[in-house]
Each structure stands twice: as C-alpha cells, then as structure tokens.
Amino acid sequence: MIKAVMMMNTQGKPRLAKFYDYMPVEKQQELIRGVFSVLCSRPENVSNFLEIDSLFGPDSRLVYKHYATLYFVLVFDGSENELAMLDLIQVLVETLDKCFSNVCELDIVFNYSKMHAVLDEIVFGGQVLETSSAEVMKAVKEISKLEAASNSISLVPKSVSGWRGR
C-alpha cells in the first residue's frame, strides 16, 4: 500500500502532499521535513531508494525522483514493488506534462486543485488505480468539461504565463 505521495521543491516547500493513512497536520509536516532533509543530502547519480524506517516505521520504503526543481516522492510498504513505484512516479509526471504541456513547478503551484484531480485518478486509497496516462488524461478532461459546463464564473485561463514573470 502506498502511504504517502509528496511533491516538494528543492527548497523543501511542499507543493502537494497526500497521506493515505490519517495523520495530524503537525506529523505530516514533520514527515515532509524529515524526507526533505534526507533527500537534499543525496548526491546525483545514486539510487532512487531510501531507507525510511526511522520516519515511517518498519517495513516502509521510499522512492523518489528528482525533476528540475521538484522532488516527487512515494512512500509505501513491503507489499509494493519498488521499481513499479518508480514507474508510477514517471506516469504521474508524464501525465502532468500532458496536462500542462511541459509542466513546470509554477503549473503545479497554481493548479493546486487540478493536481489533486490528477493524483486521485492515479492513486486511490493507497492503491494504484490507473497506470495509463492516456486513461488518466481522459478522466481528467471529462472532469474539466463537467466543471466548465456548470461553472460560468471560470476566469483564469489555463496559461499562467502572467505569473511566471515574477
């Protein structure tokens, strides 16, 4: 079972965090900080696996991937295959890339709600729900349509280029 999905930038700011076992907010922050402090000390070109027992208890594993300014992190237990989890991160990133055409950190920051929708189509209650990014895209588009249909007040276009200038 997947215990947590985290995205954080290289400064340790959380961009998205979802825990599949309930945890109080302080604990969540502690774990995010703990994971970051280990991640930021990892050199390049090492494995994507981390021992994380001290943070998440025995039989927990962590895989991460580092893309530009972001870390994508999955924490899970022994019932999952490590490399398959790594692939799942790749699926998530590829899907986001399709969503935002060349995803960057700002897309993730400003489309907080959409991020949740995408993640919920891939990981469901700590289990892998869908592994085909095409299928995920289909589902997400469907949701967008539904929202657009009933939401006339939608104002901000998808492009966030205006914000990027900052």
Binding site: P14, S47, Y112, L129, I143
Partner: protein, 1016 residues
C-alpha cells in the same frame, strides 16, 4: 479545478512572502476572512464556498491547522452541481479522517451518489470512501460497491474505483466480503479485458488471498493466464504498454498474488507459469533508457521473488543467482540496490549460499558505494551470508569500514560485527581481538552488552585469560583510549592481571600506575570499576607490596568522602576489607564462571530483525552455528559445582551488609538490588554472590559448594516443586524433560537420576500392548526408605504396576514391571508419582512415563497404488484434517523425514510429485480402533521453513485429531521445561541449596549405581 482567481491570488501572495512570519500573517488573515464568511452563510454562494474550501486545503498543506470549516466542506458533498460536490469530496477526504463525526453525517449522501445513476458522482463518492471510509461505511456500503464492481453496464472508470474501494472496505472490516459468495465472482473478474479494471481487481485479489488463500484457489490459474497474456503481449492496448513493456504493474501484481499461494499443485498451471518466468528471466536486459530499464526490472525482480517462493528447480535457482550476480555489478544504482536486497532474500533458499559467496568481493566493494542506501543493503547481505568459512574476511572488512562509515551506521555496524564475531569465530582469541578493535575504533557506538559479553567469555575460558589480559595491557599503552576500553581493560586486568606478572611492565604496581594515570579523565561510572580493580590488584600482590598498598589506600582514602555514593561506599569498604587479610582474599577471589546462556546480543539482534526478510537470515544462522564459541560449561562435567569462596566475616558486620559490599565489589553500576538481580548481564556479575550471601545461606553452618546456577532468576519453570519445606533438597542429574523426550523416541534409557537414585526404563511394545520395566537403583551406601511409586493413569491407558518394595538396600537395584494397554487414541501421558526418603530428606518427583501415542504406532510403508485410493477415500473433516502450522522448528526435509520415521510414521518417498512435500503412513493400535491405517501429508514452504501445512487422515476422528496434534507437537519447538505439560515434574536442575555431601566424582565413577544406565 478550473481556475479560481481568488485561490491563485492567495497562492501568489503566499509565494511573495519574504519569510515564514509574513506567510503566517497572510495565512491568519485569510483564515480570519474565511471564518467571517462562513459565519455569514446566507450570502455565501456555492462558488465562494468552494474557493474558500480550496484555500483551506492549501493552508492545511502548508502545515497550518485548519480546525474549522469542516462542516462546510462536508456540506458541499450534498450540493447538486458537480463543481461544488467535487470540491466537497476532495477536501473532505483530505481534511477529515475516518473517525471524524462529521463523516457519519455524510454516509447517506455518499450512498445516494453510489447507487445513483450519475457516473461522475459515483466516482467522487467511491474516491471518498476508498480514501477515508471506515467501518461504518464498510457496513452500509459494501454490497452497493460490489454491485458496481461486477455490473456489466458500468464503465471501466467506475468499476476500477469500485474494486479498490471494496479493498479499503475489506481492510476496515473483513466481513465486508463474504468469502463463499465472492470467490467465484473474484475469479470471473480476473477474466476482464480492460486492463485498468484488471489491475485494480488484481490488487483486490492480493488483499483477499493474503487473508485466506484457500478460498480463492480458483483464482490461481487465472493469475497465470493474465501473466501469459501479458508475456505474449496478446490483446494489450497501446496505452497500457509502458516503454514497450505490457503493463508492468499488472504483471507485478499478478505475480505478487501468486506468492500468497503456498504452492502450485496443478502441473499444467505450474508448467505454464514456469515458462512465463523463464521468458522473463532470460529476456530482460539492461538498456539505455532508464524508464524502460526500471519497468522491465520491476517485472524481473518480482519474477525472482516468485521463483524463490516456488522453490523452483535448482537450475532455475542458479540462473537467478547468476542474474543477481550480474545486477550487483551493473552501473545502474537502482538495479544494484535491488540486486543486493534480493540476494539477501535469496539466502533463505538452500543450496545457493555457495554461489552467493562467489560474489563476496563484489559485495564488499558495494560497502564503499557512494550511495548510503546501497551500502546498507551490502551490510545486510554480508551479515546474512556470513558463516564460519568467511567470518574472518567479512568481520575484518566491517572493522575496516567502521573507521569511515557515517555515524548513522556505526552503531548497527558495530553490533553486527560483534554478533558475527561471536557466532562464527574460528577461535576465541580472534573474537577477543575483534571486540577490542571494535571498542578501540568505535567506542561510542559499542553498547555495554558487547563488552559485558567479552568479559563473560574471558571469565569462562581459562585459556583465554592470559591472552585477554596481555591484549588489554597493550591497549593501555595507547595515548588516547576510549573509556569503554578502559573499563574492559581494568576489569580484565583486575581479574587476570596477575597472570602476566612475569612480563615486563605488568607487575601489579605498574598496572596500577598505568590505570591510575587515566583516572582523572574518566566519568563517574568508570571510577567504581577502577576501584575494584585496585582492590583486586592489591589482593593479588603476594607477598604484599607495602608501597603499592600505601598508594592504593591513599586512593581509597581520597574517595571516602566522594559525593557519589557508589564510589564512596566502595572506597570505604575496600579500605576496610583490605585490612582483613584472609577474608579479603576470599571476598575478592576470581569471579566464578557465568552460567551458559543465549547471548544477549544475538537475542537483541533477533528482536530487532523481525521482519520477514531478516528472519530468513536468522533462520539460516540457526542452521549453521559455529561451535567455536559455545560458552564453556559452567559446571565441570562431573557435575560438581565450581568452588566458590564464601565471605567469612568475623565480628561486627551483619551478613546483609557483607552481601552488599561483596556484590558491589563485583558490580559495575550502582543501585542493583542484590536480592532481585535484573535479568541483564550485570546480574551475572552480581548474581552468584548476592544469592550466596542472602541472610539464610550465610547464617547456616554449611558453607559447602554452591551451584553457580543457583541464581533465582535462572531457575525456570522447570524446578521440581517442593512438596513441603525441607524436601527435595537434591540436585538432579540431567534434565528430566530431555530424558523424557529421548525416551519417547527410544525404548530404553534413564528416566530420572539424582545423587541417590537412578530410575531406568526398558520397554517392549506390541500392538496396543506394552510391557515396561522400571529399574530403580540405589547409588548410596545407605538404604533408601519409604519408597513409593504410584501411577496416575490417564483415561485412555490401562496401567498395572507391580508393587515396589518399601526399602531399597544400599547399592541395590529393584525391578518393577509395568503393564500398559491402550484403549483409545489420546496424547495424554501417564505420570509416575515417585518418592523416597534419604536420611531425613523426603524426595518426591512426578515423572512422565514414555507411553506416548507413537508407541502404539507401527511403521508401514505404502506404495502409491495403496496410498492414493485410501487418501481419496478419506473425504474431509472429521476423518481428514488439515492445518497450517506456524512456528515450526526449521528442519531440512531429510531431517524432518528422519523425525517422522523416529516416531514410527513412515515416510513414503516419491509419492508426492512436489519435492517439498512429505507423505507418510503408519498403523495405530488400540482396543477401540483395532489396527487402523493413518495417512499424513506435510507440505512445506521452502521460503519459510517455520510454517507448513499438514493433512492427517485415518478412519477414526479422534485418532485423526490426536495424531495431528501429536505430530504438531513434535514439529513445534517445545521450549524445554515448559510448565504447561506436567507442572510437577518439569525438567531442569533444581536450585541447589547446600547439599550435605554430594558424591565426589571419583565415587560416582566407581559407584555401580552410576553404571545402571549402561546395563539397561
């Protein structure tokens, strides 16, 4: 999720905050704003509500507590329009947990959405339940969710969510899925074409089979079918092909599910599966594209686990090891990491250790990898693969690595090195070297356990003492030594420094000055150890050296007024004692040997490593222990306890204070109550003396030898229970339980022995009848009187013991026949209540008679033509019973076969096609059943030798049950001296109050009584 201006503005405001304080102010302002708006609900449009709730979620993620607005989030769930409803669902599932009261309010709305026709609503509701649904949801929603999952009209999008939702409900409440009804449905679900639904369904299956694999056995071939479909790339749509690999996740899940079935019986399924596995093993290469590599190796590593689980043919196994050998040297770090991890798991498979050892140098190289994750894996593997043959190399590598390892690994590293050194040392002096080096290099990380243990070894092995002392002396020459090293050195030199007296630089006064040099720099707990050492040095100086005495007395004087009570007391007491001459010698004599026991280090390691993978290592470690380091027997072989000096203190001091001072003389830490020594190693340092000096013992006249084992906590439940005070004051020879267990498997031997009497037994069995003869031999030169032997028969045996004479003359033997008839099957045991008087001592023992179930079995070997018709004829309970037995003592198959044969259940080799299974047959005799055929089958799990499945059948339900339980008892490790069996007659040496006159070894050897066993 389409843009919300307010949310975007808020997020960018947060981003513009220069520091945490500014961020907090902005967040507080926003929370205040939201709070006001929520209070004024009437003017709140659904859009605004939605916006605020998203902001709350964002604030929550930033790490701020959002303790209001939950109701608003939940209420959005019942909004009629999609956008609000969606936000309600997403935010609720992030902010609330399954026990939140508000969630219960939403159950009805959620249910309506699930059973409604709107698929998008269904998806939202399922997502909520799948993420945070608790028991309440499970009870009210499980049937609805199941309906969605098997519905033919639902879209895959809904069904795959329903599958995982059901999984959550099952986890929260296993009754949510009714095994009988659901097993067939589950099997049907695995025929699904849509790979999304199939992946989710397979996840559900994994959860279900992990709980009860038998009920879902029909799913096993389906999993193999799925794998075949994917391996052949049949009917796999493009979108499910990931970097050219047909859905790696589904392949992985299907193989994971298969690992929950103990074995695959159907030959054609097995064959098909092995073909797929072979294809995966052979067809995977390391390629340039990282993602493709990861995906293909995800499948490959899962296949490796499955192969290990199935315990495939040797050829395939060595293929796996060869692959792993390749992996641990590739450039790709992920593969290296997993290669090492899987090799560690592979250790549990027999016959591959030798191939793994070939990679030792590569593994040692990985210990220097730049990636700490890989270094840790390498350490685990080295630890697991270590045995007598390579211990020296591996431990020396670990010691070398210790100097460069990061701090976070040092403690683990030193503990592991210490354990390996202890377990596999080729010789003891090497062990001492290793531990001293360990303390020298990483003193801060060496726990007390480690140095206590080395002290134990040195104390118990005389040969080692001069060597250890000279080593300890060498380390003292170093300019800077770790305090732990000083403690060990001081202790060892105090005890054995005098053995070095002739060597240069090792006279008592030289030892004293080199130790005393270090005293100013040590911490308080070390000072008492040094004081004890000084006292010992002083005692060993014969003839007394007035110079040294003056110096040491000066030290004692100095600490007489120390603020630390422990130090002060020692200083005062040593000073007083050292003026007492002979008594001083006695008090400070060499420490007696420690009782043999499991190393607390190894115990600690076992406690720590209780995960599945590690236990395999442990198991293997148990299988090949080294004999090198078995603690020397605490008692000389002839049973005479080692002499122990008893403090004879004349005059003022009362026994209790002597006990304290004495115990503290040997203790290293304060505040240990001598009456109740704590069960750690320190108690060994304190124990023997503490108990000896307990008021009662000291006040008696007899200061005879006292068993070193007479420490209260050492006495397990096995001691003979005294009938009344002053009885049973005999020391048993041998362990009653062990004797009984031995006699269960053979027909003659000694049943009981103490210094006065030996009871032997000889038996013949024919069908349901048995004839035993008890031989009671008086070993003394005076008669044993009031001899009584009573049989306490269980209900299923008819027993007839011929009368036993009241008196057994000196050095004579009496025989007493015992007739046994078996009426019906039972595992109960007859007990012999035996008592006699020696002098004024009444001795009573309750002894189990080895007329056990297996004695009424007669070996019988069947051919497959005879076996299988009978086996099939036994249809099921109650005539044929099956049980999964856990906690089995791990045995290799041939050993297990021998065990079975030894209790007359004959193994019929070759009958079962699976080499991991045993099939056995036997005939049982009793009055009620007559001669009855019994059959048994044992299915072992090569991946986990501690569990197996056992099926036993016979024509009589009681017999089937009893035989099954009997076999189980034989397979499960019965802790020696288990109180549960026969409380009154447990095994083990009794605590030994002073024995008046134990027979000397010579007398024993000459005594004809001692030879009785041989005659029988």
């Amino acid at each position: 999720m389409s843009g919300m201006r307010g949310l975007s503005v808020f997020i960018s405001d947060i981003r513009n905050c220069q520091n945490k304080e500014a961020e907090r102010l902005r967040v507080d302002k926003e929370l205040g704003n939201i709070r006001t708006c929520f209070k004024n609900e009437k003017v709140l449009t659904p859009y605004k509500k939605k916006k605020y709730v998203w902001k709350m979620l964002y604030i929550h993620m930033l790490g701020y507590d959002v303790d209001f607005g939950h109701m608003e989030a939940v209420s959005l769930i019942s909004a009629p329009k999609y956008p609000e409803k969606q936000v309600g669902y997403i935010v609720t599932s992030c902010l609330l947990n399954e026990n939140h009261d508000f969630l219960r309010l939403a159950i009805n709305t959620v249910r309506n959405d699930i059973i409604g026709r709107n698929e998008t609503f269904q998806c939202l509701a399922l997502t909520l339940v799948g993420n945070i649904g608790g028991r309440d949801f499970s009870e009210s929603l499980a049937p609805d969710v199941q309906k969605l999952l098997i519905s033919s009209s639902c879209r895959p999008l809904v069904r795959k969510k329903a599958a995982l939702c059901l999984l959550r409900l099952f986890r929260k409440n296993p009754d949510a899925v009714n095994v009988d009804g659901w097993a067939d449905r589950m099997a049907q679900l695995l025929d699904e074409r849509d790979l999304g639904v199939l992946t989710s369904s397979t996840s559900l299956l994994v959860a279900l089979v992990s709980n009860n694999h038998e009920a879902y056995s029909s799913c096993l071939p389906k999993c193999v079918k799925i794998l075949e479909r994917l391996a052949r790339n049949q009917d796999v749509p493009q979108e499910y092909t990931y970097y050219g690999i047909p859905s790696p996740w589904l392949q992985v899940k299907a193989m994971r599910a298969l690992q929950y079935f103990p074995t695959i019986e159907d030959p054609s399924t097995r064959k098909a599966l092995f073909e797929v596995l072979q294809r995966i093993l052979m067809g995977t290469d390391v390629v340039k594209n990282v993602n493709k590599n990861n995906a293909s190796h995800a499948v490959l590593f899962e296949a490796l686990s499955l192969v290990m689980h199935l315990d495939a043919e040797k050829e395939m196994m060595s293929q796996c090891v060869a692959l792993l050998g390749k992996f641990i040297s590739v450039r790709e770090p992920n593969i290296r990491y997993l290669g090492l991890e899987n090799m560690t798991r592979m250790l549990m498979v027999t016959d591959v250790q030798d191939i793994i050892k070939k990679h030792q140098s590569q593994i040692i190289t990985s210990l220097k990898d730049p990636d700490i994750s890989i270094r840790r894996r390498a350490l685990d593997l080295l630890y697991g693969m270590c045995d007598v043959s390579n211990a020296k190399d591996i431990v020396e590598e670990l010691l070398q690595y210790l100097s460069t390892a990061e701090f976070s690994m040092r403690e683990e590293l030193s503990l592991k090195a210490a354990i390996l050194a202890e377990k596999f040392a080729p010789d003891l002096s090497w062990y001492v070297d290793v531990i001293l080096q360990l303390i020298d290099k990483a003193g801060d990380f060496v726990s007390d356990d480690i140095w206590f243990r080395v002290v134990q070894f040195v104390t118990n092995n005389e040969d080692l003492q001069p060597y250890a002392a000279s080593k300890a002396r060498e380390y003292l020459d170093k300019i800077a030594i770790h305090e732990t090293m000083l403690k060990v050195s001081a202790y060892i030199l105090g005890e054995y420094g005098h053995l070095l007296a002739r060597q240069p630089g090792c006279s008592a006064s030289e030892l004293f000055s080199i130790l005393h040099e270090k005293l100013p720099t040590v911490s308080t707990p070390t000072i008492p150890i040094l004081l004890s050492t000084y006292a010992k040095l002083l005692m060993h100086t014969q003839p007394p050296d007035p110079e040294l005495q003056k110096k040491i007395w000066a030290v004692f004087k100095k600490y007489e007024s120390c603020i630390d009570v422990e130090i002060q007391q020692r200083a005062v007491e040593y000073f007083e004692l050292s003026k007492k001459g002979a008594a001083f010698m006695d008090v400070l004599a060499e420490m007696p040997k420690f009782p043999e026991r499991q190393s607390s280090l190894i115990r600690k390691a076992e406690d720590v490593e209780d995960t599945a993978d590690q236990s395999a290592i442990k198991l293997r470690a148990q299988q090949q222990p080294s004999n090198a380091l078995v603690l020397a027997d605490p008692q000389p072989v002839d049973g005479a306890p080692p002499p122990l000096k008893v403090p004879i203190v004349s005059g003022s001091t009362n026994p209790e204070s002597v006990a304290r001072s004495v115990s503290q003389a040997y203790g290293t830490l304060s505040s240990i109550d001598p009456q109740t020594p704590s069960p750690d190693l320190l108690s060994d340092l304190l124990g023997p003396l503490a108990i000896e000096a307990a008021p009662g013992a000291v006040s008696t006249e007899q200061h005879g030898p006292i068993g070193a084992e007479g420490v209260p906590e050492e006495v397990d439940g096995s001691a003979i229970v005294p009938v009344e005070e002053q009885t049973n004051s005999v020391e048993l020879i041998g362990n009653i339980a062990e004797r009984f267990h031995a006699l269960c498997l053979k027909d003659s031997g000694v049943l009981y022995e103490d210094p006065h009497i030996q009871i032997g037994i000889k038996a013949e069995w024919r069908g349901q009848h048995g004839r035993l003869v008890l031989f009671m031999g008086n070993k003394n030169t005076s008669p044993l009187t009031s001899v009584q032997a009573l049989i306490l028969p269980p209900a299923h045996l008819k027993l007839d013991l011929s009368p036993v004479p009241d008196t057994i003359p000196p050095r004579a033997q009496v025989q007493s026949p015992l007739e046994v008839m078996n009426i019906r099957p039972s595992r109960d045991v007859a007990v012999l209540d035996f008592s006699y008087k020696f002098g004024t001592n009444m001795v009573n023992a309750k002894l189990r008679i080895p007329a056990t179930l297996n004695k009424f079995l007669q070996p019988l070997q069947l051919t497959s033509e005879e076996f299988f018709p009978q086996w099939r004829a036994l249809s099921g309970p109650p005539l044929k019973l099956q049980e999964v037995v856990r906690g089995v003592r791990p045995l290799a198959l041939p050993e297990m076969a021998n065990l079975f044969n030894s209790f007359h259940v004959t193994i019929c080799p070759g009958l079962d096609p699976n080499p991991n299974n045993l099939v056995a047959s036997t005939t049982f005799y009793s009055e009620s059943t007559g001669a009855m055929l019994c059959l048994a089958r044992i299915e072992t799990d090569p991946a986990d030798r501690t569990q197996l499945r056992m099926t036993v059948g016979s024509g009589d339900p009681a017999l089937t049950f009893e035989l099954k339980e009997f076999i189980k008892e034989q397979l499960i490790t019965i802790p020696m001296g288990s109180r549960a069996l026969v409380p009154a007659a447990g095994p083990g040496p009794a605590p030994a109050p002073p024995v008046a006159q134990p027979p000397s070894p010579a007398a024993l050897a000459d005594d004809p009584g001692a030879l009785l066993a041989g005659l029988l």
